[in-house]
């Protein structure tokens, strides 16, 4: 009899203890929106972190791709979501620093989001066809000045678009918009193809996207936008060429929620990400694909993106690249 009383008492105690725990975030599956298509860099990155992240969260993460308009469609879905931490976005350099800097008509701004982390950095490399006769950045710049060149991108307002202009501008090409013709393509694969088949002279994109072409000898890298050389890329780093400003030009993947995301939710994400990104298998997989794993706290992430945005915005304003219509 006594035992049963004790049991009931314990059960009641457990119930009381469980009540606050139940209300604790997350109490149901979290929707993770990937604003780019399946099989792309963002998608692969997101799905690779999903596994260790799911363990860290201790709940279910529902990954869904909402694609279109260079990441804008998926980003808007999160912008309009309830800021309860149950709808989060895998934000990318294109959707959250290049696009806002270039497009006046974008339905969102950086202020509409609160970043909880940036966990992956991808250096950028510029590459040409090996038989193009261009051996160095110097050659590319002088060819651009004399005859004019062209570059491909995955679309207007993509990182590839801005990267090529940024690089030429840093290397002292006056009026890079006039001297070099932008030939936009639909998607990163098509952008690389355009250089392979001679439609465009060069492209600047993430090393992860170029790695296979460089390894296969189909494209020749001219420069990587880092302080140190990148393994597998037989090309000087931006710093060694004296253009350390170009180190701002890197791709990244992060996680963001709507701007009024509560502080405790953001803090939770900071903890989870620190745990998830420590996963050895994850780090190994991502590094093999040419990414640098660097987990930023919510504050660091916001500052990092803000700085990159300001750099890009200044360039866009200087050259009059902003798209108004």
């Amino acid at each position: 009899m006594k035992l049963r009383h004790l049991g009931a008492f314990c059960a009641m105690g457990l119930g009381l203890a469980a009540a606050p725990a139940l209300a604790e975030y997350p109490e149901r599956p979290i929707n993770m929106i990937i604003p780019y298509g399946a099989g792309g860099a963002t998608d692969i990155s997101a799905r690779t972190i999903a596994e260790p992240l799911g363990t860290a969260v201790g709940g279910t993460l529902v990954m869904s791709n909402i694609t279109g308009a260079g990441g804008a469609t998926g980003s808007v879905a999160v912008q309009n979501a309830k800021p309860d931490g149950y709808t989060m976005l895998f934000a990318r350099v294109g959707s959250h620093s290049v696009n806002p800097a270039m497009k006046a008509t974008l339905p969102y701004t950086l202020d509409d989001y609160r970043f909880v982390t940036v966990y992956e950095i991808n250096p950028v490399a510029c590459a040409v066809r090996p038989d193009s006769g261009i051996e160095s950045m110097e050659d590319l710049v002088s060819l651009t000045e004399s005859e004019g060149t062209s570059y491909s991108s995955s679309g207007v307002g993509s990182m590839l678009h801005l990267a090529a202009v940024f690089v030429l501008d840093e290397f002292g090409v006056k009026d890079p918009l006039e001297k070099a013709t932008h030939i936009p393509q639909k998607g990163g694969g098509a952008a690389a193809t355009a250089v392979l088949n001679g439609t465009a002279t060069f492209l600047c994109t993430n090393t992860s996207a170029l790695a296979s072409f460089v390894a296969n000898g189909q494209l020749k890298p001219l420069m990587v936008t880092t302080d140190e050389p990148v393994p597998g890329f037989d090309a000087p780093s931006a710093s060694s060429l004296g253009k350390s400003d170009l180190t701002q030009l890197v791709g990244w993947t992060g996680i963001a929620g709507p701007d009024d995301l509560p502080d405790d939710v953001a803090a939770k994400w900071g903890e989870w990400m620190a745990e998830a990104a420590g996963n050895e298998k994850f780090v190994e997989q991502m590094t093999a694909r040419g990414s640098v794993i660097e987990v930023m706290s919510p504050e660091e992430a916001n500052e990092f993106i803000e700085t990159q945005y300001e750099t890009f915005r200044a360039l866009v304003d200087k050259l009059g690249m902003r798209i108004e219509g």
Binding site: T48, T73, T105, G155, H182, T193, I323, G325
Partner: protein, 496 residues
Amino acid sequence: MSLIDSVMAGLALVGNWEAFLSLAIGVVIGVVGGAIPGISATMAVALALPFTFPMQPINGILLLLGVYKGGIFGGSIPAILIKTPGTPASSATILDGHPMAERGEAGRALGMALWASCTADFVSNLALIFFAGFLASFALSFGPPEFFALILFSLTIIAGVSGESLLRGALSALLGLLLATIGLDLVYGTNRFTFGDPNLMGGLNFIAVLIGLFAIPEVINMVWHPTGHMGKVQKLGSKWVTFAEYKRCFRSIIRGSFIGVFLGSIPGIGAAPAAFLSYSEARRKSPNKANFGKGEIEGVAASEAGNNGVAGATLIPLLALGVPGDVITAIIIGAFMVHGLQPGPMMFVLNVDIIYGLFIGLILSSGILFVVGGLAIRGFRPVADIPKRILMPMVLVLCIYGVFAVNNNIFDVGVMFVMGWVGFVMSRYHIPAAPFLIAFILGPLLEDNFRQSMLMSGGSPDILLRGPITWFFWTLTVIAIVAITRGTMRAAQSEG
């Protein structure tokens, strides 16, 4: 390493039950996914992708390839049975497949679709194995001007699928071209016809338009005339396709396979235009021209050969150049990257075992597709016998679910319903839907490549005639237009 060594290395990799099973599971997922309206082959591959991450690289890739091939065939099942393409590539199959089903010959149409698919698949795989290098270098000679000429020629297909009235066909195509302009402008990045709605910035979702145009009008028709279909014998039918028929269509199947291989090896076109081009070529060459569009079995054979001919050939740019040929291979290339494989010329040196393993797997896949497809036809047999009043609500639910799932966006469901009414009105006025679809697919390609050419040349139109490839397609275009004009005039004379 000699060829024998390479083949042995490949065999060592795929000569086990896991590889075989992955491939078979892939084909099953693909056929079922393709057969459900709204879950296209693309989506089936995208859904399967994360599950292949922990698998052995070769098994994971074989599974995805199985899904791809199965999906392209599976799409023909609803196209024939319920006039809804399960995947965009099977839109052309509707033209003759569904009229056959309405005649009570669904079994025959499905059988032919399977035979044509497997034959084309096999041809396509052989082309990949033996001519990958040649076709890849050919594909690399396709810049924007060559593309422009090819797409321009492909637009002449519209005449072949317009049915009785070329004018109505052209009207339908114009509407398709117009709606395809919605979204971001490629060169300036400005919004076109988006009316400030972010949902329109990405353009109209292709699957939503496709389902809306073909499936929803059927549902609306059913509501409009609940008893209109009574007395029609929509049955699977006891008739099965015969070997004699296969032999009769063999030329069209082989022609379609080659069209598929050719268009598949050039990155950026995809399976739907190949199916339509193969269909219109078969119609042009056929003695039963007048019967096309009314349930001609050769039409089904040609369409299915065209789209499955693409399936093996899209791997040519993927393996030989490392560039994705269409949306589906763009997903599959992700699987290569996840496993640290770098497709491209060096892969034939560094990972020769994987390359040959894939080749062996692909050859097997044609056989597996034949078996699984045959079972699937039997499995979906009851669908043909379900009364329309029960079938149509089910179709509607599947369509809504499928279109939502493509992009997790309720807006697309709205697009589907609006397009459904457009399709319904079009069918009431006997305006064919196929030209709309062709224009909707090819219009943006035509525009983008034209503008890219102009950017390359600094605005000079001379570039559109650079090199023999452009001349070849310009000549074909002129010949096609002359032939269409003469045919139309002759028809007008014989009437008047």
